[in-house]
Amino acid sequence: MLISPGNRGVLASCAVSVMNNNEPCKVREGRRYPRIGIYTGQGASHSWLWFVEVFDRIGFFDIAFLTETHIRGQGLDRCDVLAMSGGDTFAIAKALGPEGADSLTRFITHGGLYIGSCAGAYLPLHSSKEHLNLFNFVPAKIANLTRTLPEPQRLREKFCTAYGCSFIFHPVREAVRVGTNGFPPFKQAPSLNAPLYGGPPMIAGDSAQVLAVYSGFTEKTVFLVDEQLAADTVLGKAAVIRQKMGRGHLHLYGPHFEHPRFTMANQLLADAMLWDLRRDPVQVGDNTSDPVLLSGEDCRNLLRDIKREMSNSRVVAVGLETLPVQWKIGNKVYETAKIREFIEPVWQRIRRLEKLNQLILLPGQASRLLQAASKTTRLLRKIKGDTNRGVDTLPAARNTFEALNLLSTLFLDIYFRTRLNSFPQTHP
């Protein structure tokens, strides 16, 4: 049985109902679960891990982690959904290039669903800028674009990004109030809180459906500019828009609806995703090597080795958080606390795999993972040592975040492969 408008809500409710107990949804016969690609390539920040958290809670285990190389190739061919997280929009656009833009166009017009959050939302908005102009999928304007920057009141380093001759400035950060339009798929919540970390307030064109607008600020909202200017720039603008493109759709989120601490927003994101899930599942086989099953002593030993290295990294990462260090990598500012944003999602899942006592992994994946983990520990220790000695740590930090990205991707690929094997999700 395929998902149709009549039964989409059932799965969505089912999905959401499990979000608090961390147990996957019971798979009913014939129920189709989405195959989701999460972008982890150039330009992606740690926020792709928020998508991981939400999909894991819901019980969507058929996850592929895609870099720009995968997207430029055939990585999207077996996906129903592509989740594009926050990060550096320019870097993402440049990395994907014309081939990536073609792949995305083909994916969406053939029925795929593009979910863009923050940088992922900026990417397909109309633009005349080099690289970005390859992705003019959604006729909406960026409301926080200016040629004359206002005076920042705080967090100067996170306040703005150059955008050609103009600037994108970020009037507020943290939780804002969002009001929905009361129509499906967002009908369940008239208003909710969601965190904004640089995502766009948008002015939608005629063909785009506004699912939610920025309706107010909260006591947690941090104002980076004058409050009146922030209100003028943000309030009443589109926070979430839905755009049809060919047989597929794009959902663009200014605020991070996928942030794991905002469960109502998570619920709406999941509802919307299932609402626009393509009716006909893709019929492309997985052309990766045959996975192998590891169990018993071998499984325990591998998990112990992973745990050892992750713990070593974790110990240093916690120690680094006491130091006043931050790095600017590309257009993004990284604090030391970002390191654990990568480590903790892995750490928390090691225990779950220990309980399952089996792993499904691709040939060579274990050794690549251990190498990445070991390299991460070495780099983190180097940062700590260099910081103490007053040596510039930017090159090591750059390498560290690359290593952390690879490490989390490799581990989570094994994790979801294993979970999928333990809780099969049918694809009729």
């Binding site: 745990k307 974790r314 110990v315 240093v316 916690v318 120690g319 983190l380 220790r381 700590k384 040592g385």
Partner: protein, 428 residues
Amino acid sequence: MEYLASNKIAIIDLATRDIIEEELEDDLVLEKIGGVGITKSLYDRFADENPIVLGTGLLTGSLVPGSALSVITAKSPSTGRVSHVPLTLDAGMELKYSGFDYMVIKGAADKPVYLWVHDGIADLNDAEDLWGKDVWAATDRIRDLMGDDLIQVLGIGEAGEKGSDLAQISINYWQSGDRMGFGSLFGKKRLKLIAIRGMGLLEIAEPEEFVEHCAGLLSALKSGKTSGMKGIATMAAAMGEADIEGWLKPLTHKHMACFNTPVPTNTFVFLDEDPALLKETSVAEPGFLLTDISPLLTLKRLGLTAADTCRILKACAKYGMDGAAVAELSEKTGLKDPEAIKGSLPNLKGPVSSSGNAVFSPWAAVGNQEPKTWMRREAVAYIFGLHPIFALMAPELTEEKLLEISSLGTELELTSETLDEVIADITG
């Protein structure tokens, strides 16, 4: 053991480098409660292999006021008896959160090693480059190597490496309550140090009631006789040595408490910096943490100045030798010149009376308790994981209350009859 424990015992064979893990069974806790009750039981089990057993108290690292203590049990080279020494400061708590409740270290390595304990992983690593370093240098080195300044280090200096019966297991840079010569056991096993980092979590069976009882205890303590007590001089005053306060005052920088202990029993003195300095000092080694009353009293009796006394104790700490034993032998031989005392360290030999004649380290001595009362109170402290000096001063921590809180924390029915049996077994 589901609650207030990591549920793991490590059996570490230094000769073969095998590390075996066992579960901490509820039955063992029901029979021996915890702390020294179980370390003694594990010692007996491996007695033929001359083990050193590290263990945590049942309430160590919890919200119970004074829950700072872990314990080392081994056969004392000084007394020939199976004895127990306290691990205080933050080391006791750190062990509790390291992922192991107990560790049995048996056999001897063929070359120097160190044990790295973190997140339920125990790793034996080569310590060739640590061997020969004094306690302070070894502590700095291991923290630098692992990239975290919060790592707790139980290590030995040259005294332990040479197998001196007066050698002490130090806690980080500081003197510990090891009056039993356990440092020489480390040396004979070629175990330079144990580095511990605890970032785990403990589950509590009845968290709300547990916290309520702990808060009640803290409230009672605040209006009790320990309220307002601070510093090592206060402890000395309780032993009838009130004038030590004025003697030490010109050097006193601050007082420091062990983990969650309402009375700060340690005093940091500045020897090479202005004690009144409030801002961060730029001096590499500004002073010394006084953790043991006895050597202060002895060296003061010899007519030494507070500064000379502290410098001698600093030398003892670096060399890894029990300051109380050094003070006692200096008094016996009439050595009063500070430089001569420091110079005598490599050739000092016992016997000394500072090891006491009980199974517990005489390090914790406050007031003039009856030996029987002192012994029982120490036993209770070492079983539940309470600071052994604080436990002597705080009658509010009754046995009944501790049993009640333990039952709330663990869901196990622990009775006063069991406690009596455990104490009889340890002290009998």
